[in-house]
């Protein structure tokens, strides 16, 4: 049994209006080949869930820049000015959570919990409209779990069962996101035969993964590469 699929097969689960959760932090660990495929497929009206909106031409930021996103549930949009503009213009709804709360909401969804109790944000405007509970004399906000129709992650290596290991700081939200999708698509830079990954070093057990797609590698210029040359925030990848 192999979960290896072509890009087209894997993308069949992603359609207009669906909720798409993505791994990555500033674009690092966001699957480039899947993002490219979603763009080319023409999917729109997406609700995104993930740490941040990348940079204008890096990571998930490309979907935002191309106007494919209706709503985003995130912790930060500062590195993508297009996201800020669309939020101001009312073209895109943005819901902010503290980064660690967002990570745990996603993890809770992935591990079958209804939500989390957290005291981060108490005493701030984030309290507004949220249910509170007192446990052992301490007040917590109730933060419901997050799941998604489809989750996309970027792994360094995957085997046919979908066992995944990640790439340094590219791990970030990926192992959490991988568990929280009704369907999870993993893009891997390297596909290896079953049995080749050391069971001790597998980060995401393949049971959470529905499809494995061969990645074509990062197809954007990192912001620090671009800045070294021009000081700008990157540009569209060459077609």
């Amino acid at each position: 049994m192999t979960k290896q699929k072509s890009l087209e097969e894997a993308l069949q689960w992603i359609h207009d209006g669906c909720t798409l959760m993505f791994g990555g932090f500033g674009g690092i660990g966001t699957p480039p080949t899947l993002v490219e495929g979603i763009l080319e497929k023409g999917v729109k009206e997406l609700t995104l869930i993930g740490n941040d909106t990348g940079f204008p031409w890096i990571g998930i930021g490309r979907l935002v820049t191309e106007g494919r996103v209706r709503k985003v549930i995130t912790s930060h949009i500062g590195s993508n000015p297009n996201a800020g503009k669309m939020m101001e213009d009312g073209r895109m709804e943005v819901v902010f959570y503290p980064q660690g709360t967002l990570a745990e909401k996603i993890r809770a969804g992935g591990v079958g919990l209804g939500g989390i109790l957290v005291d981060v944000g108490i005493g701030t405007t984030l309290e507004a409209g949220k249910e509170k509970v007192v446990v052992d004399g301490k007040t917590y906000l109730v933060e419901p779990a997050l799941t998604a129709d489809v989750a996309i992650v970027h792994a360094r290596k995957a085997d046919p069962y979908g066992n995944l290991i990640y790439d340094k700081s590219g791990r970030n939200f990926n192992p959490l996101v991988a568990m929280a999708g009704d369907r999870t698509i993993a893009e891997a830079d390297e596909l290896v035969p079953l049995g080749e990954l050391d069971p001790e070093s597998i980060v995401t057990p393949g049971i959470f993964v529905n499809a494995v797609v061969a990645g074509k590698g990062v197809n954007w210029q990192w912001v620090w590469e671009k800045q070294a040359a021009t000081g700008s925030q990157g540009e569209p990848p060459a077609k």
Partner: protein, 220 residues
């Protein structure tokens, strides 16, 4: 102030003096990131990053960058000996659990009780929260680095914050280009004044009530 040293570097240099050997430290984006450049050689610090690095090292040399080894701001770093990777939930577990000895954060406003506002100016474009709320609320020691006044000359060190808070009563020390102030139970105490400013200059630029001890250090 060294010849040509910017006020940002001066603030960063002062903040670096707060970092003691053996600390686990998280540096925010902006002026805080520069603090790492001023830590004395021989001081061993474990740098924590929200994207899942415990033990981040200095920036790599040009040409040695790895696109998959970056700090929370998206810029390449290296690893210190003994470093580890984790996912972002674990990275925030370290923060929420109280394992971070100190964080240095930028600030829009700080109140004399140590309330911090640094994530949103209503009606203006907002970058979002990022890890600021967890760090402000849960790090053992919070150092706020900021300009003393805003572009309109209005004090950012206030009796009460006007902007929405990041966290209540969380800041321990404020470092600006003019002064170093400590939040205490007795109020906001002026500890140091940066040359060429005087105690009177600092009082004049501070909306918060400052407690002025008999001795205030002068930093040149």
């Amino acid at each position: 102030m060294g010849v040509g040293e910017t006020s940002r570097d001066r603030i960063a240099r002062r903040a670096a003096r707060e970092i003691k050997d053996g600390m686990v430290v998280n540096l925010g984006i902006g002026i805080p990131t520069r603090v790492a450049d001023f830590i004395p050689e021989g001081t061993h610090v474990v740098f924590h990053a929200e994207n899942g690095i415990l033990g981040a090292g200095p920036s790599p040399a040009a040409g040695e960058e790895d696109g998959f080894l970056c700090n929370a701001g998206g810029y390449p770093v290296t690893l210190a000996i003994g470093a580890s990777y984790c996912d972002s939930a674990i990275a925030f577990a370290m923060i929420r659990r109280g394992a971070i000895d100190m964080t240095v954060l930028g600030a829009l406003e700080v109140s004399e009780q140590g309330d911090l506002a640094n994530w949103i100016v209503p009606g203006k474009r907002t970058a979002g929260i990022g890890g600021a709320m967890e760090l402000a609320q849960k790090a053992k020691r919070v150092v706020a680095v900021m300009n003393h006044v805003n572009r309109d000359g209005k004090s950012k060190i206030r009796k009460q914050c006007e902007l929405p808070l990041t966290a209540q009563r969380c800041v321990d020390l404020i470092i600006t280009e003019m002064a170093v102030m400590e939040v205490t139970d007795e109020g906001l105490v002026l500890r140091e004044v940066m040359s060429p400013y005087t105690v009177e200059d600092v009082i004049g630029c501070t909306e918060a009530k400052l407690v002025i001890p008999r001795h205030v250090d002068r930093i040149t």
